[in-house]
Symmetry: C2
Subunit: 154 residues, 2 copies
């Protein structure tokens, strides 16, 4: 009975962490989410690079998409073991993500903060502020990539 209780608790623990399902699904959902975020980031960059045709609506829509993704609970997709495995393709998450939980939490919170701040600034349509805050947002992406993502294979 004790063994069953221990196993039960262990199982609950895993179930809670892996609410997004098998490791392969977590990695696939993660890759989908960040690809979606990347597409929206590209769109904002394209707008800022072409001030003559700047579309406030496009920037707002992309900013809202990034903020909603940042607020969607992506942390649930980082269950134990998801630094190895394949979703759409092999994950590039480094094992350091699990070895340095405090740093991982810090970069995650920073991304969430910058994404929500950026959505607020985008809504104002002030290009100067949008540009400044976009720099902060993409810096928060880079901080995480630098620490926890393998470089792309050449």
């Amino acid at each position: 009975m004790l063994l069953r209780a221990v196993l039960g608790i262990a199982f609950l623990g895993v179930a809670a962490v892996s609410s997004a399902g098998p490791i392969e699904d977590q990695i696939k959902f993660r890759q989908g989410a960040y690809t979606f975020i990347g597409w929206n980031t590209n769109k904002i960059k394209a707008q800022l690079d072409n001030p003559d045709s700047f579309s406030k609506e496009e920037v707002i829509a992309a900013a809202n998409a990034i903020a909603a993704a940042a607020n969607s609970g992506l942390g649930a997709l980082y269950g134990p073991g998801t630094d190895k495995g394949e979703g759409f393709r092999k994950t590039r998450l480094k094992s350091e993500f699990f070895e340095k939980p405090e740093e991982a939490k810090k970069v995650a919170l920073q991304f969430n903060l910058e994404a929500n701040e950026f959505a607020k600034v985008a809504a104002t349509g002030d290009v100067g502020q949008i540009k400044a805050k976009f720099g902060k947002l993409t810096q928060s992406c880079k901080s995480c990539h630098d620490s926890f993502r393998e470089k792309e294979a050449k």
Copy 2:
């Protein structure tokens, strides 16, 4: 000069439609976006299937993510030729999508409407209404899949 002008116009046309870049990128961004939408849809279904642990916050976050994705201009990822090609994997978009533009527009607008309606209802926390509107939202997904998406290979 006439030829150059004609080619120039043709090029602009392609450039405008393909603002998301090469066909492979459009397909990859599309697959990323719908994978992200699917993950959020799964989360809402899991909440509705488990009323004893229903989390209003999780449903709201997932609903906002789906609405923001629906509002993010996914149409730009359906440029000519994107019914053939590979993103993360081979696209399942049927050629009928380009042959029946009115029907394609109709299902796209319906998804957009239902996604935004659902986000409003999710914010109220009324489980009965959430369940009813979630049925409408997933029906709008299914309508498009039935018409324009190849069945998954067995």
